[in-house]
């Protein structure tokens, strides 16, 4: 029986670039920006790094394939660099690799860097991609918003929610994230928006309007991990440790089997249960202090609240409207602005979520600092509702 990752690995340092339309910055610039901050925070030298993981989703418009782009950009001392890709959950995948290497004893100190340079495509949103040679021949010619928007129609049909009520609830999700993002100097979007603005924005994919969709951004984030013992030997105290790391991957059931009703994320429920068990959490609604979830679209965040077993099934609309997930609510969600406003440089996003939890747990989150959080959860999703990977991480004070 696996003993799990709980408290075996501590975060030694983290860094995150400014996210946004970084017209000025190359992929290398972005990586360096996050790396320098993380290395300074860790207080180590490059030759103390044993292994590296590099997450990067779209290689043809970013840094290219393989581990070399990171190794060259950061001039790493010829250590192992593994490039990982798992859709939009790639950043969590890099973190998982580094954490597992340390837990296995294969590396004393490991680094994970996630980076995406999306604003070299010439247009808004993500670039269309061919997934193999069969899928384009049988799959719909859709987009990310069109795929995630389908959650809304299925959720409404299942729970009998009116189109207007759901639209208003998902609008509140975005209004809240904009309010949070406005307090984050590294966020891509730092302006507050009103519910009226969100409701009246141009339609992208029914029922998702412009403000229901996250920013498409350039950015990079980095994490350096080690064992609690080594961290202490390096003079660190008040350590933040990894409590759980779970990944659940669709096996085609949602896409091909009638048992899935289209209104929720099958993988999220599986990953969440395993993550809570690994972290020893029995009452997530009481025990979790804060969350960064994969709010690629407002409706994703709304249904995710149920899939993480925070809101009861069918009750997310009420919780959202009650302000349960607002900055002053019981479990603040997207306190850094989320994908919605901090931005979504794909390969970096999972690490960016962890970065915010790490800052909050250390009391270093500035104007958006929460009051004594002890457990933070990140939920990093890749793919689309019918076919996805879900990565959940829980971190907290080592003694929590």
């Amino acid at each position: 029986m696996a003993t799990g990752i709980r408290d075996k690995v501590a975060i030694l340092g983290m860094g995150c670039s400014k996210f946004g339309e970084r017209w000025d910055a190359s992929p290398e610039d972005l990586m360096v920006e996050s790396y320098v901050e993380a290395m300074e925070d860790a207080g180590i030298e490059p030759n103390q790094l044993d292994a590296a993981w590099f997450s990067h989703h779209i290689d043809d418009i970013g840094a290219g394939k393989g581990g070399t782009p990171m190794s060259i950009a950061l001039r790493l001392p010829n250590i192992a660099v593994t490039r990982v890709e798992n859709y939009c959950a790639s950043g969590s995948e890099a973190f998982r690799g580094a954490v597992y290497a340390v837990a296995a004893g294969a590396a004393d100190i490991a680094i994970a860097v996630g980076m995406e340079k999306l604003k070299d495509t010439g247009f808004g949103g993500l670039s269309p991609t061919n997934y193999g040679t069969l899928t384009p021949q049988i799959g719909p010619s859709g987009s990310a918003p069109g795929n995630f928007a389908q959650l809304a129609s299925a959720y409404r049909a299942k729970h009998g929610v009116s189109a207007e009520d759901l639209k208003r609830a998902i609008a509140h999700v975005s209004v809240k994230s904009h309010a949070n993002g406005a307090k984050n100097p590294k966020a891509h979007l730092q302006k507050i928006v009103t519910e009226e603005q969100v409701l009246n924005a141009p339609m992208i994919a029914e029922p998702l309007g412009l403000f229901d969709c996250c920013g498409v951004s350039d950015g990079a984030a980095a994490a350096i991990v080690t064992t609690p013992e080594i961290a202490r030997s390096l003079g660190k105290d008040n350590l933040i440790s990894v409590k759980a790391l779970q990944l659940s991957v669709s096996n085609g059931l949602e896409n091909q089997h009638n048992s899935w009703d289209g209104s929720y994320f099958h993988t999220v429920r599986i990953a969440a249960k395993k993550a809570y068990a690994e972290a020893g959490i029995t009452k997530p609604r009481e025990q979790i202090s804060m969350m960064e979830v994969h709010d690629c679209f407002s409706v994703t965040e709304l249904v995710t609240m149920e899939d993480l077993f925070i809101s009861d099934e069918g009750n997310a609309v009420k919780d959202v409207m009650d302000g349960f997930y607002d900055a002053d609510g019981k479990i603040p969600c997207q306190i850094d602005g989320g994908l919605k406003c901090f931005g979504h440089p794909i390969g970096a996003s999972g690490l960016r979520m962890l970065y915010e939890m790490y800052l909050q747990l250390q009391g270093k989150a500035g104007a958006r600092q929460l009051n004594n959080p002890s457990i933070g959860l990140t939920h990093n999703l890749g793919g689309q509702p019918a076919n996805n990977v879900c990565s959940i991480a829980i971190i907290g004070a080592l003694d929590a």
């Binding site: 247009f123 949103g125 719909p140 010619s141 809304a152 096996n251 091909q256 089997h257 009638n258 009703d261």
Partner: protein, 484 residues
């Protein structure tokens, strides 16, 4: 020798009907001479329809929803607008209909009388005993220049006919064909548009001389005269020309069949046979029908309805089809669907759409025929089939048996109307549909407008163009869902 003839017939017309007035008004500044043609409508194919997809749809209407189509041994496809100059177009239709591989598939093209010529071939083949059940389908989606008379004359549509020796609704009596190099219009390979000669010459020297010659030849062979004809079919865009020719051949002008010029337009290769469908759905036993076509000469066929005609009740008659259309008053949409203007497709329209032909062939049944799998152990139905079944907790290896989805009804589970992804008819509708016996597909919807679909709505499958790879000149087909 047993009788040979038609055992079933069905037409297909695209949903949209372009208002001709919309066209003439838009072009009035440029082509005021066309104002007189601004009456009625013409059928307007969706951007994802072509002669192949429309043929598939017409043939499905005569075959019904039965999975077993092994009784069909020959398929003739007639069109002047075949999507491929070199790829067996009737072979695409065969694959979509999941007809047996042994079905002989024949393309007949290059003339507007290709539809009637294909029918003559099928009748002869069945008569000779070399086929027991042949299907003839004719379709055209002809392109015309903006502000041209052809734009207002043409229509898009298809027809399918079952030719057999049993259960005949119309018995074949005889035919006559003339092949004459009379060039009223022409189009070389690679050219988008016809080049047309003067209409008066076509009418006087072409129709009025060639068609009567073919008719009289048939009358002579069959030892009948015009007075015995109950229905006279001759497509033409010239007003009253059909009546003039009828009179010339001793046929009562009242027997002239409406050519649907003000509702459908001239569907080219399909049109004589589409008009035949409109006659057969109303005809009584013992009526003689003369079917004529014009183009590179003329074909004339004579049929007589049988007692079975009283039981011939098509699910959708031509009359129903005409009535059920949706009027389209957006000329720009017509121009865009038919690639007649240069419009801004955005960067998303630049995506490379190369089709892996190896993959297409490896998954030919799944892609072209919408055949999935049914697990022989658990009964789980899935699309596409896979080596290991998707059955939850029962990942059985190599248990998939072919399962046909195309004729099954489904219900919409989830959907969206997407304005972001590239579409020739935005918003791009797609979603997950659950099939009546199980199985699901995330699939494009077509022939729907914004606000017309919702979860729980019943849909059926249609075979359509998925994408056109303009870089390589390849049309990729797949199935889409439309509301029932």
């Amino acid at each position: 020798m047993s009788d040979v003839g038609i055992s079933s017939i069905a037409g297909y017309l695209p949903r949209l009907r372009l208002s001709k007035k919309t066209v003439t008004q838009a072009n009035a500044w440029l082509a005021p001479n066309l104002a007189g043609k601004g009456k009625g409508t013409r059928t307007m194919a969706n951007w994802d329809e072509d002669s192949v997809t429309m043929s598939v749809e017409a043939i499905r209407r005569i075959l019904g929803r039965d999975d077993d189509r092994s009784h069909v041994d020959t398929l003739f496809f007639a069109s002047t607008t075949m999507p491929f100059a070199d790829r067996l177009n009737s072979g695409i239709i065969r694959a979509a209909l999941t007809l047996e591989e042994e079905t002989q598939c024949i393309d007949i093209t290059s003339t507007l009388k290709s539809g009637t010529s294909a029918l003559i071939q099928a009748l002869d083949k069945v008569k000779s005993g070399k086929s027991s059940h042949s299907i003839v389908s004719a379709a055209d989606k002809r392109k015309a220049r903006a502000a041209s008379p052809q734009e207002l004359n043409f229509g898009d549509g298809s027809v399918a006919i079952s030719v057999a020796t049993e259960n005949l609704i119309a018995k074949y009596i005889n035919s006559s064909s003339l092949s004459i190099d009379f060039i009223d219009h022409f189009r070389q390979p690679g050219e988008e548009f016809d080049y047309n000669w003067e209409e008066r010459w076509i009418r006087d020297e072409g129709y009025l001389k060639i068609v009567p010659k073919a008719i009289n030849d048939l009358f002579r062979k069959s030892q009948i005269d015009g007075s015995s004809i109950d229905h006279f079919i001759l497509p033409s865009v010239f007003p009253k020309l059909d009546q003039k020719i009828a009179k010339k051949c001793g046929i009562d002008p009242d027997k002239v069949v409406n050519n649907m010029g003000l509702s459908v337009g001239d569907t080219g290769s399909a049109h004589s046979l589409l008009m035949l469908a409109s006659v057969l759905e109303k005809a009584k036993p013992g009526e003689k029908i003369l079917v004529c076509s014009f183009g590179g000469g003329s074909d004339v066929l004579l049929f007589e309805t049988t007692e079975n005609i009283t039981n011939f009740k098509p699910e959708q008659t031509i009359e129903n089809l005409i009535e059920s259309g949706t009027e389209e008053n957006n000329y720009m949409k017509y121009l865009t669907f038919n690639d007649l203007i240069k419009w801004e497709r955005g960067m998303r329209g630049e995506q490379d759409r190369k089709t892996a032909l190896t993959t297409l062939y490896r998954h030919n049944d799944a892609i072209m025929g919408l055949i999935g799998g049914k697990c022989s152990k658990t009964g789980t139905i899935q699309y596409p089939a896979s080596p290991i079944s998707v059955s939850p907790n029962s990942p059985d290896l190599n248990t998939q048996e072919p399962y046909k989805f195309a004729e099954k009804r489904a219900k919409i589970l989830s959907w969206s109307a997407d304005y972001l992804s590239f579409s020739i008819n935005p918003p791009n509708h797609y979603g997950v549909v659950d099939f009546e016996e199980g199985g699901r597909i995330m699939i494009d919807f077509t022939d729907v407008e914004k606000g017309e679909i919702d979860s729980g709505m019943e849909v059926k499958m249609v075979f359509r163009v998925k994408i056109v790879d303009e870089l390589r000149g390849f049309t990729r087909y797949f199935w889409k869902a439309i509301p029932v």
